[in-house]
C-alpha cells in the first residue's frame, strides 16, 4: 500500500538526512554513465587507463574532473554505484510486501492505458524515447530529480532551484497535454 504523504514524506526526508549525515547527498543519474563506461570498457579496454593510481579516459566526459568518472568505471564496487543497485533491492522488497503492481499495470500503466490504449509498442517506444531525453538532460544539467531537485534544494544550492524550475516548466505542460483523462 501507498503511504500517507506525511508518513511517506517524513520517511523520504529521513533517508536524505541519513545519507548526508553518514556519507554524502543522494544522486543517481551519474551511474547511467558509469554503467555505460563499464560496458564500453569491456568492449574496448583502452577506454579507461590507470597510471600510478591516476585514472583517465579517451572519452573526454569520463576524463573530466581529474578522471573521477573513469575511476568509478574502473572500480564498479564503489559507494554510488552500489547505492543504485541497493535501491533496486529496496524497491523490490517493498513491492513484494505490498503484493506487486499486477501484470496489467506492469505492462501498460493505468494512466497510460486510459489515455493511449493498449498498444505495448507505443508505450515502450515512448518510455524508451523518454528515457533517452531524461538522461541526456540529466547529464547536461549535472544531476537529476534526486541529486539536483531533492539533495540540491535541501542544501539550498542555487543549481537545485535552477534545475527544478526547468524541470517543472517542461514537465507540467507536457503532462497536462498528454494525460487529459485521469483513469
Amino acid at each position: 500500500m501507498q503511504l500517507n504523504w506525511k508518513v511517506g514524506g517524513l520517511a523520504l526526508g529521513l533517508v536524505f538526512f541519513l545519507a548526508v549525515l553518514l556519507v554524502k547527498p543522494i544522486g543517481v543519474s551519474t551511474q547511467f554513465v558509469i554503467l555505460d563506461g563499464i560496458v564500453a570498457d569491456i568492449v574496448n579496454p583502452a577506454l579507461v587507463t590507470e597510471t600510478d593510481g591516476v585514472y583517465t579516459s579517451t572519452n573526454a566526459y569520463l576524463a573530466k574532473s581529474d578522471g573521477k568518472y573513469a575511476k568509478s568505471v574502473a572500480n564498479p564496487l564503489n559507494y554510488s554505484f552500489l547505492f543504485v543497485l541497493a535501491m533496486m533491492v529496496g524497491a523490490f522488497l517493498s513491492s513484494r510486501l505490498r503484493g506487486g503492481n499486477g501484470a496489467q499495470d506492469n505492462t501498460i500503466p493505468m494512466l497510460w492505458y486510459v489515455n493511449f490504449g493498449d498498444s505495448k509498442v507505443k508505450r515502450y517506444a515512448v518510455a524508451f524515447v523518454g528515457g533517452f531525453i531524461t538522461l541526456y538532460g540529466a547529464r547536461l544539467a549535472g544531476g537529476c530529480t534526486s541529486g539536483h531537485m531533492m539533495s540540491g534544494m535541501m542544501q539550498t544550492s542555487l543549481s537545485g532551484y535552477i534545475f527544478s524550475a526547468g524541470a517543472f516548466a517542461a514537465a507540467v505542460p507536457v503532462a497536462m497535454m498528454m494525460y487529459r483523462k485521469e483513469g
Partner: protein, 195 residues
C-alpha cells in the same frame, strides 16, 4: 564500511520511493498534470525535513559540513532540466524511480532504462561539442548556496547565514507541503485513491 552504508541507505531509499508511489508512472503523471499532488506534498515535506535536520545538525555540531556536495550552476542546468522534465512527463519515470520501477516488475521501465543508457552515452560522445557552446560555463559563482554556510567550502549567493536560511527554507517547504491541496480541482479523487 562505505559499502555497507551504500547497501543500507540505498535500500531504504528504494523502499521509501516505492512506498510513496514514486515507482508508479500513473502517480507521477497525475502529479505532473497537477491532478493529484499527494506525491508532490511528500517530496516537499522530504526536502524540508532533510534541510531542517541537516542544517540543524550542523549548528548542533553533529553533522559534518564537509559532507555537503553542491553542484555548479550554469545555463545547461536549466536546459537539461527542461529536457529531463519533458522525458519525465512522457515516460512517468526519472532516473532513480525508473531503476526502482524495473525492480518492482514494470516492463516499460526496462525500455526507459535502455533509452536512458543510450541518452547518457549520447551525452558522453557529444560532451566536447556541448562544452564548446559555453552552456557549461558557471553562472552566479557556480557552486554556490543561497546563504553562506559556516565552515562550508562553497560561497554563498548572499551574505546571510546559510544554516539559519536553510532551516527557514526547510520550514517553508514543510509549510507549502501542508498548504498545497491534494486535489487542485477540488474533487475527492476517490477513483484515483481506490486503485
Amino acid at each position: 564500511m562505505q559499502i555497507i552504508l551504500a547497501l543500507v541507505i540505498g535500500a531504504l531509499f528504494g523502499f521509501a520511493l516505492d512506498r510513496n508511489g514514486a515507482t508508479n508512472p500513473s502517480v507521477l503523471g497525475r502529479m505532473l498534470a497537477l491532478k493529484s499532488l499527494g506525491l508532490m506534498k511528500a517530496i516537499l515535506l522530504a526536502i524540508g525535513v532533510g534541510s531542517i535536520l541537516m542544517f540543524g545538525g550542523q549548528m548542533a555540531g553533529f553533522v559534518d559540513v564537509g559532507h555537503m556536495s553542491v553542484k555548479a550552476a550554469y545555463v545547461g542546468v536549466f536546459v537539461g532540466g527542461l529536457l529531463l522534465g519533458a522525458g519525465w512527463a512522457m515516460s512517468g519515470f526519472c532516473p532513480g524511480t525508473g531503476v526502482c520501477a524495473v525492480a518492482t516488475g514494470r516492463k516499460d521501465a526496462l525500455f526507459f532504462i535502455a533509452g536512458g543508457l543510450l541518452g547518457a552515452a549520447a551525452y558522453m560522445v557529444t560532451y566536447p561539442a556541448v562544452e564548446a557552446t559555453g552552456l557549461l560555463n558557471s553562472i552566479a559563482g557556480g557552486k554556490v548556496t543561497l546563504g553562506t554556510v559556516p565552515g562550508a567550502k562553497y560561497d554563498g549567493l548572499m551574505g546571510l547565514p546559510g544554516d539559519v536560511l536553510g532551516i527557514v527554507l526547510g520550514l517553508a517547504f514543510v509549510l507549502v507541503a501542508f498548504v498545497l491541496p491534494e486535489r487542485p480541482d477540488g474533487t475527492d479523487g476517490a477513483r484515483a485513491a481506490a486503485e
